[in-house]
């Protein structure tokens, strides 16, 4: 019996340039910048792609993760749960340069999951009785009221993994997992940057979080190139004013 030859999804970054287009919808993993893919964000910046509709839990900090795309004004519309850590996003929203749609964090995560699982949407009651229910289609199921929340997908999903094998099976690193396994499922094209790329069979199948079926391309990560907010300190040890690297 011969071993099946597993196709490799590992590519050079430059081969991916045509995946990114002006006006595209982009989904980005990460939470507060932790787990956001640094090398892919920089690649998108270098390509000059603009007018992006971004779906992300948040936009990190102005110099961290997808926050960089906000700072460089590449995003025209943002679907997120929170932008409090990125004042530049707040400013652009107030100035009318950036359209922002907010969802409760768990609802947003589940909308993305639904997109990745091939569902049309979810039924959720989180936010009934608040601004969240404004304009929402509602349905009664077994005497309980729910909002219908359509699923979310994107042209391209970008993901940060700890390990990928050549087939795109993924593991994640501690709390850098966050939205990454969800985002990985919901892209028409899913691109993963991994801290470590290994051969097929080198990851324990029991430990794989995202199966390679969802992944189209794998590129090596150059690692985080920003300073975390907790690393910014004044000489006296007090928190520093965040700066763009």
């Amino acid at each position: 019996m011969t071993e099946p030859k597993v196709p490799s999804k590992v590519v050079e970054m430059d081969q991916l340039a045509s995946c990114f287009k002006n006006g595209m919808t982009l989904m980005c993993g990460g939470f507060g910048g932790v787990g956001a893919p640094p090398t892919l964000v920089n690649f998108i910046l270098d390509l000059g792609v603009r007018d992006i509709e971004l779906i992300s839990n948040d936009v990190g900090f102005p110099w961290i993760g997808p926050g960089k795309l906000i700072t460089e004004k590449r995003i025209k519309k943002l679907i997120a749960s929170h932008i409090g850590s990125n004042p530049e996003a707040g400013k652009q929203m107030h100035d009318g340069e950036l359209e922002v749609v907010f969802y409760p964090q768990g609802t947003l995560a589940e909308k993305i999951r639904a997109g990745g699982m091939g569902l049309g949407g979810i039924l959720v009651d989180v936010g009934l009785g608040t601004l969240v229910e404004k304009g929402k289609q509602k349905v009664n199921v077994e005497d309980k009221e729910y909002m219908i929340e359509p699923a979310l997908t994107a042209d391209v999903s970008i993901v940060f993994a700890k390990e990928a094998d050549i087939y795109g099976n993924l593991t994640f690193d501690k709390s850098a997992r966050n939205t990454n396994p969800l985002v990985a499922t919901a892209g028409d094209i899913t691109i993963v940057e991994a801290e470590r790329i290994v051969g097929a069979g080198e990851l324990d199948p029991e430990c794989i979080v995202t199966p390679g079926a969802f992944v189209d391309y794998v590129v090596p990560s150059k690692g985080v190139d920003w300073e975390w907010v907790w690393e910014l300190r004044r000489a006296d040890g007090s928190p520093n004013v965040p700066h763009k690297k």
Binding site: N57, H82, P104, V124, L131, K174, P181, V209, W230
Partner: protein, 221 residues
């Protein structure tokens, strides 16, 4: 803002007394974060974070931080024994399905019905709700920790919230630098006074109507 470090710790310490053995608890930012300092290891509390940890431990020593191990605010943390990592959908599944025993959070306003407003000041501060609505609506018990009054001296415990709501009838308990209230089914009940405040001072500083518990006590320290 505005409360001294000692007062903030006192509020946090009082909140910690509500936590019992083995609870799953989510702590919000600000004063709620300080509650962790008053949880004895033998309580076996599992702290939950929105970014996907059950069993969050204290901050690491300087130099021991890991950029990929943080709380929901992005600051480094550690783990306790028995901890687990999971994705964000699971983090909120734990909340929605009712496995979160308690959430302790800050607020801009709380009404005498237990309505909470804590995520938006229209046209002034619009950061997004994050996980606040999921937590306030779905945790089994919701404790609000906050200043009794705003920076203009106005009461933050009100008849009806003026700001957009996070949740209707969500709060079970309110702890401020002046007092502790239970939110009962149909009224607010003052159960404890923080020394050196007096009942008269609390009445003057509180817009909401409340009843005084027959077993009203004073917290000395």
């Amino acid at each position: 803002m505005g409360l001294g470090a000692e007062t903030r710790r006192r509020i946090a310490k009082r909140a910690a007394q509500e936590i019992t053995h083995g609870m799953i608890v989510n702590l919000g930012i600000g004063i709620p974060t300080l509650v962790a300092d008053y949880l004895k290891p033998e309580l076996g509390v599992m702290l939950h974070t929105e970014n996907g940890i059950l069993g969050m431990g204290p901050s690491p020593d300087e130099g021991e931080e890991d950029g990929h191990l943080s709380n929901a605010g992005g600051y480094p943390v550690t783990l306790v024994s028995g901890a687990s990592y999971f994705d964000s959908a699971t983090a909120f599944g734990i909340i929605r399905k009712g496995y979160l025993d308690m959430t302790i959070l800050g607020a801009l306003e709380v009404s005498e019905q237990g309505d909470i407003a804590n995520w938006i000041v229209p046209r002034k501060r619009v950061p997004g709700m994050g996980g606040a609505i999921d937590l306030a609506q779905k945790a089994k018990k919701v404790i609000v920790l906050m200043n009794h009054t705003n920076k203009d001296g106005g009461s933050k415990i009100v008849h009806r919230c003026n700001l957009p709501l996070t949740v209707q009838k969500g709060a079970n308990m309110i702890i401020t630098e002046m007092a502790v209230f239970h939110v009962r089914e149909d009224h607010l009940e003052l159960i404890e006074i923080m020394h050196p405040y007096t009942l008269e001072q609390i009445k003057r500083a509180t817009e909401a109507t409340f009843r005084v518990s027959p077993t009203l006590t004073t917290i000395q320290s």
